[in-house]
């Protein structure tokens, strides 16, 4: 079992108090970890500044933009509004955990092919939300995609290509499933 000592990257934030640190056990991208965390630190900061997983982005910090979306117990949430001290027993998947092995995840591949990313800042959040959507709904309509992504803002693409990419990802995942079923 891996025990990561914290703080690792940015030690000593102003006003830090070690006495209230909390030991938590989490599963992060499929790996079990025991961490000593600062309870009031945001999950977003825990990931970026302590675990070195900078794929998850901060846009607004107030739950409005979705750039910080991660899966918590399989469900998409805004990591900018979650405290580390709540996380004992949590199963967390970030953008770093989407791709397993050398191949891109179909959602990543579809966004790449369709130009669903421009500056890329919103992209990790978009990909996590899309992954969550396609798990619940294999063949979403355009309206369902817009509904699911309404908490993910993008200032570059105008959304058209993102929607196209989600539809392509859905198609790729359905095809993959059929091929796998055929063995």
């Amino acid at each position: 079992m891996q025990c990561v000592a914290v703080p690792a990257i940015f030690p000593g934030w102003p006003g830090e108090r070690g006495d209230i640190n909390k030991k938590i056990r989490i599963t992060l991208n499929g790996q079990e970890r025991i961490l000593e965390v600062v309870p009031y630190r945001l999950l977003l900061d825990l990931l970026r500044d302590e675990m070195g997983m900078t794929g998850t982005k901060e846009g607004c910090g107030t739950g409005d933009c979705g750039a910080c979306t991660v899966l918590l117990h399989g469900k998409p949430v805004n990591s900018c509004l979650v405290f580390s001290g709540e996380l004992d027993g949590a199963d967390i998947v970030t953008i770093e955990g989407l791709k397993i092995g050398p191949e891109l995840h179909p959602v990543q591949d579809a966004f790449r092919q369709d130009g669903g990313a421009q500056c890329g800042y919103c992209t990790p959040g978009m990909l996590m939300m899309t992954t969550a959507l396609l798990r619940e709904n294999e063949q979403p309509t355009e309206e369902e995609i817009r509904f699911a992504l309404s908490g993910n803002l993008c200032r570059c693409t105008g959304y058209a290509k993102i929607i196209q990419a989600v539809q392509r990802a859905a198609e790729m995942m359905r095809e993959k499933k059929i091929t796998e079923a055929k063995g």
């Binding site: 934030w13 108090r17 009031y40 739950g63 805004n78 405290f83 001290g85 309206e143 309404s150 908490g151």
Partner: protein, 305 residues
């Protein structure tokens, strides 16, 4: 964005333990449910808790269940997303699922709880008007044992409720209702998603026969008074009358006259009042048209009359 000042987080496993922690550690403690209001208060509004008591480990506070008598019990920690997609709620009270589905984004709704929405006591809280027209009761765990109060008398002002320090909201009870009850919730905001209600209107009614004679009606308004309110004058306009464009219009006028909106960044008081008139009428007429189960969100805001 500002980062939180240091505070400790406790995770009690029972209501009793949570209340004791609160008493033991004294002032400056806050209960935490989904944190979508609390984290914003800490990050944006300068709230500095001394400690936080997370309620999410208390199993008895979650879940949605239907009793044999037809009443529904919603645990305070039921998330907005759970209320939105709950089969029993979308079958029996689709407008309540919809009101939960109008909150924020899916990410927010996976965390935000129905109890947090009520306890936070924002005048614009989306689930409250729908719960008011269902005459919901709320149960709180207090120093003097369990208490049950009608949701209508739970709110005292913006951010203020009858709960005292250390009290925990445990469940929301929706009393048995006729299978013929029809309802509607309209969240009026210029943006379709990710905005707070400028005006919220919920309607629940029972009618007789094909002529749509109104037997019973309840109308509630959000975001247009210090606390979410029942629009009793508007209700009185409709009782025992045929529901049609004209009577709905008059009920809308009554609702507009009895609310007390304020002007703020979102809208002026006059605009809110006008939107109460329009949307009360619309909600009444939508309610009598009924809706087939839980409509997809795109159809929710359509005018169906």
């Amino acid at each position: 964005m500002k980062r939180p000042e240091p505070f400790e987080i406790f995770q009690p496993a029972s209501i009793q333990e949570a209340r004791e922690l609160h008493i033991h550690h004294g002032p400056g403690g806050y209960f935490l449910a989904g944190g979508t209001d609390l984290a914003i208060a800490i990050k944006e509004k300068g709230l500095v808790p001394r400690y936080v008591v997370d309620l999410k480990r208390i199993g008895s506070l979650s879940g949605i269940r239907e009793n044999a008598d037809g009443s529904l019990v919603l645990g305070a920690l039921a998330t907005m997303r759970e209320v939105e997609i709950s089969r029993v709620i979308s079958r029996r009270f689709p407008f309540l699922s919809q009101s939960a589905g109008e909150v924020g984004s899916i990410q927010i709704r996976n965390r935000a709880t129905i109890g947090g929405n009520i306890a936070n006591a924002t005048p614009s809280a989306d689930v409250v008007p729908a719960l008011l027209v269902l005459e919901a009761q709320v149960t709180t765990s207090t120093q003097n044992g369990e208490k049950q109060v009608p949701l209508e008398s739970f709110f005292l002002g913006p951010g203020k409720t009858v709960m005292e320090r250390g009290d925990i909201l445990t469940e929301i009870i929706i009393p048995p209702a006729s299978a013929n009850l029809r309802g509607e919730y309209i969240k009026f905001s210029p943006r379709e998603m990710m905005d707070l209600a400028y005006v919220g209107v919920a309607v629940a009614l029972l009618t007789d026969g094909d002529e749509n004679v109104c037997r019973e009606v309840r109308i509630a308004l959000g975001a247009v008074s210090p606390v979410p309110m029942r629009a009793r004058k508007a209700e009185a306009v409709l009782v025992n009358r045929v529901i049609n464009e004209e009577s709905a219009e008059r009920a809308g006028e009554a609702a507009a006259s009895e609310c007390t909106p304020i002007s703020d960044v979102r809208a002026s008081a006059a605009y809110r009042r006008h939107m109460v008139r329009v949307n009360t009428k619309r909600a009444i007429l939508n309610a009598v048209c009924g809706r087939p189960g839980n409509l997809p969100w795109v159809a929710r805001r359509e005018r169906r009359y």
